[in-house]
């Protein structure tokens, strides 16, 4: 297969996945904003969303005030924002168009139709009128795109590069989401900087929750009349889970109250959780093996090691070294892997 074709397929899948993840995060924030909460908390949510995509600076320059409407406009339909749903869907469609002959008719038409319908939705203000429904639609189109790929394409190189793109992007997105959401509760326990008074309260709660399982709960009590924070935590973590379709999965797997370290374990290490880092890397590795060529040994090694680290990792070890540090390193490794794939397969230097 042509390297350029592989490149387009890889990016088509990445952009589609990115559109879905953006929609997921927006949706969760939007749902959260419907709950009674302080303005500061709501704003924190929207800020978190911008920082996940590393867009805080660009947003501040162009929009200034962080309001739900501004963030939504910026992340949904802003053509100048390369990470907006609009930009992602357009890029996915343009990449698909460049290789439409390699795709099955169904895959191409799905991608094309998504872009055409999106334009119509923006034109009729669908994202303002009923954001929840519109975000559902983006997720649905992404499910459809993936489903029609798996359901109709020959499992040849084209297929594998699509899959690699999807899962590499998803790993990246999940890692960012976990990082930012844990950052939002800001705890030394998770390896973050100095805690303020308020943060110390929350830290206490987290510790109390962590210990509650062992029935013994010495030290500062969590239940000192601060029920608001417990409630906040429940909604915070359940929102994180929902944004990766993990709420029901969590209940099924742990059959227990929602606790941050379990959320972290589920989203990082569970091999059977489809949006976890472990599951994503596993898919990346197995698809990479199917397309291996003479020069890709190093890239495969990189991917294999990342996969093994996740496969044999333990959540208490990860938390002990600091979650933020761990995820930062993970994102660097995913990035290096992307560079390797690009060099070995997608844009090889002239032979």
């Amino acid at each position: 297969m042509l390297s350029r074709t592989a490149d387009h397929l890889f990016w088509m899948a990445r952009y589609m996945e990115r559109a879905e993840n953006t929609a997921r995060m927006l949706d969760v924030n939007y749902q959260m904003s419907l709950l009674p909460q302080s303005e500061a908390a709501a704003e924190r949510g929207w800020r978190g969303l911008l920082s996940i995509s590393e867009l805080t600076g660009d947003f501040a320059k162009r929009y200034g005030e962080v309001t739900p409407k501004n963030v939504m406009d910026y992340m949904v339909s802003d053509a100048a924002n390369g990470s907006s749903i609009r930009s992602c869907l357009m890029a996915a469609r343009e990449n698909a168009r460049a290789v439409r002959g390699t795709l099955t008719t169904e895959v191409w038409e799905t991608q094309n139709q998504t872009w055409l319908e999106f334009q119509r939705m923006v034109a009729t203000d669908a994202f303002q009128r009923s954001p929840g429904e519109a975000f559902e639609w983006v997720k649905f189109r992404s499910h459809l795109s993936r489903g029609v790929t798996v359901g109709t394409m020959l499992q040849d190189e084209a297929f594998h590069f699509l899959r690699i793109g999807s899962f590499l992007e998803r790993a990246d997105n999940t890692a960012r989401l976990v990082d930012v959401k844990f950052h939002a509760v800001d705890s030394e326990f998770f390896g973050f900087g100095s805690a303020t008074g308020l943060r110390r309260d929350r830290l206490a709660i987290l510790q109390a929750q962590a210990q509650s399982q062992g029935a013994v709960a010495p030290g500062p009590a969590a239940g000192d009349g601060n029920g608001k924070d417990v409630e906040f935590d429940f909604y915070h973590w359940s929102a994180v889970l929902r944004s990766v379709s993990g709420f029901e999965v969590y209940r099924k797997v742990y059959r227990n109250v929602i606790r941050p370290e379990r959320v972290a374990e589920l989203l990082i290490l569970r091999p059977d959780m489809p949006r976890s880092l472990a599951a994503c890397m596993h898919e990346v590795v197995s698809n990479l093996h199917r397309v291996a060529n003479e020069q890709s040994k190093d890239t495969l090694r990189l991917a294999g090691r990342l996969d093994a680290d996740l496969q044999y990792g333990r959540i208490d070890e990860i938390l002990a070294t600091g979650l933020h540090a761990y995820l930062t390193q993970f994102l660097e490794r995913v990035n290096a892997l992307g560079v390797g794939i690009s060099r070995d397969f997608l844009v090889p230097v002239a032979a």
Binding site: M1, L2, T5, A79, M90, A98, L116, N293
Partner: protein, 478 residues
């Protein structure tokens, strides 16, 4: 202008034999059903992405706009016996044209015999010195030819077919022929059970067979690719479509490189030899080392690999010397010269403005004639006398006098019309036909071609870039 010839209705408005079945069916269709079918067709064309890009036009994203070519629901029907005759004529014409191209790059017998003026050929910008003495597989140059045919009314009300133009370089439109049929079968399956319409869907198979048959002789199982200028080219849909239908790679110039006079493409598994390139890039852009240096659409060293016989270009370089409008008037003579046969398909009578007598006549009759630039294409740079204002005619007269050899002139043919959906209902609109002729080991074609229709009332310009539409074309067994 003479009395028109309508494809569907003859004298007194009676429906012609080969249109009767369709006419009966159409009269049974409620108008709102046809209207919703038209809308359905548009939605499907958009979803499938059967669009063409218009150069220069930009939408808000700064990308070239993608437009739909209007598709008309009423088919253009040709009775089988007419097609059989046309097919014979097309074979004959394209065979002679290929012989001509081979000749002008080798012995130049036809020039020596004085049948075609030497300076018309050698002095032609489309004549490629690089091709002199180069042998191409089977001596075939234009493997894919699109021959534009029109029907014009005779004085007695009958119609005759004429060849309007030969397209021997990179003719396009075949994907619309195929997609239009697919659309018609999707919208009106019952029509096809009531009519015996000759199928066209095997065109990609014939094309692939043709391309494989002209591979360099030393290659057993040739690798064939389609070379496109890229996704912003107006015909990109067609390039992608044909590559997909044939199951071969669609490459851009940047995907190819030449090493030791062989052409390779860059793949995920390393370099792969390429043997036949169905190129949809003009000669000028094929190789920056040989032609336009600023071209990024081609591949450096391609010409050298080609001349060494290590790769086949389809169509060959330099075919433009035979489809130039200044050469067109000599095609009937070519047929007699090379094949010793009388031409089956007629040319439109043509005045060559470089000849003093012809020029004088043309200047006297500008108001009645169609004057065309010999190197023009796409319906640009021409004067349609009867449809032009005095001022336009006078402006053109100046240009023509300044450089007569740039122009030819033809009588304004009353192009035949075909009933077509327009805003006010169904009305006659002018049409033409482009059949696609494939020349490899043998000459083959699918029955039919692309029918283009000028949607503006009275307009004779069918080009899609100027508001033309298309129709499905039926070759109908009685």
């Amino acid at each position: 202008m003479a009395v028109g010839f309508d494809e569907m209705r003859g004298e007194g408005g009676t429906v012609r034999e080969h249109y009767r079945g369709y006419d009966r069916w159409l009269s049974e269709q409620p108008p709102q059903v046809m209207l919703s079918r038209r809308e359905e067709a548009e939605v499907i064309f958009r979803r499938v992405g059967i669009t063409f890009a218009v150069y220069g036009a930009k939408d808000e994203d700064g990308k070239g706009t993608e437009r739909l070519i209007p598709f008309d629901l009423i088919p253009r029907v040709i009775p089988a016996h007419e097609w059989r005759e046309m097919e014979r004529g097309l074979r004959q014409r394209v065979t002679a044209l290929n012989r001509f191209i081979h000749d002008v790059y080798h012995g130049q017998e036809i020039l020596k015999a004085g049948m075609v003026p030497t300076e018309q050929v050698i002095g032609n910008a489309q004549f490629r010195n690089e091709m002199r003495g180069v042998d191409v597989p089977g001596g075939t140059y234009s493997h894919i030819a699109g021959i534009d045919i029109v029907r014009a009314a005779n004085a007695d009300g009958s119609g005759s077919y004429y060849v309007l133009e030969d397209n021997l370089r990179v003719p396009s439109g075949v994907s619309y022929m195929l997609e239009n049929r697919k659309m018609m079968m999707r919208l009106f399956p019952e029509l096809f059970s009531r009519h015996r319409v000759a199928p066209v869907a095997h065109y990609p198979d014939l094309l692939l067979e043709t391309l494989r048959s002209v591979a360099p002789a030393a290659v057993n199982d040739p690798t064939v690719v389609v070379l496109t200028p890229g996704m912003y080219n107006s015909a990109y849909f067609e390039h992608a479509f044909l590559a997909q239908q044939m199951g071969i790679e669609l490459v851009e110039g940047q995907d190819l490189f030449v090493k030791d006079n062989f052409v390779y493409m860059r793949t995920t598994q390393g370099p792969k030899r390429v043997d036949v390139i169905y190129r949809r890039v003009d000669d000028d852009f094929l190789d920056p080392l040989a032609f336009r240096k600023d071209s990024t659409l081609g591949c450096a060293g391609l010409l050298s690999a080609y001349r060494a016989g290590n790769v086949t270009l389809s169509n060959a370089i330099g075919t433009g010397v035979a489809d130039d409008k200044s050469i067109y008037p000599y095609v009937p003579k070519m047929i007699e010269f090379y094949l010793g046969e009388k031409p089956i398909l007629a040319n439109v009578p043509t005045h060559v403005c470089r000849e003093a007598d012809d020029l004088a006549y043309v200047l006297d009759h500008l108001g009645e004639l169609v004057v065309k630039e010999v190197h023009g294409a796409g319906g640009y740079g021409m004067l349609v006398g009867p449809a032009s204002t005095k001022e336009e005619i006078e402006n053109f007269r100046v240009a023509l006098k300044a450089d007569p050899s740039r122009y030819i002139a033809q009588p304004t043919l009353a192009l035949s019309t075909c009933p077509t959906y327009v805003e006010s209902g169904i009305a006659p609109r002018h049409i033409d036909l482009r059949p696609f002729v494939l020349s490899g080991k043998t000459v083959q074609m699918v029955p039919g071609g692309l029918t283009r229709v000028a949607l503006k009332e009275g307009s004779l310009v069918v080009n899609s870039s100027q508001g033309g539409g298309t129709k499905d074309t039926w070759i109908l067994e009685a």
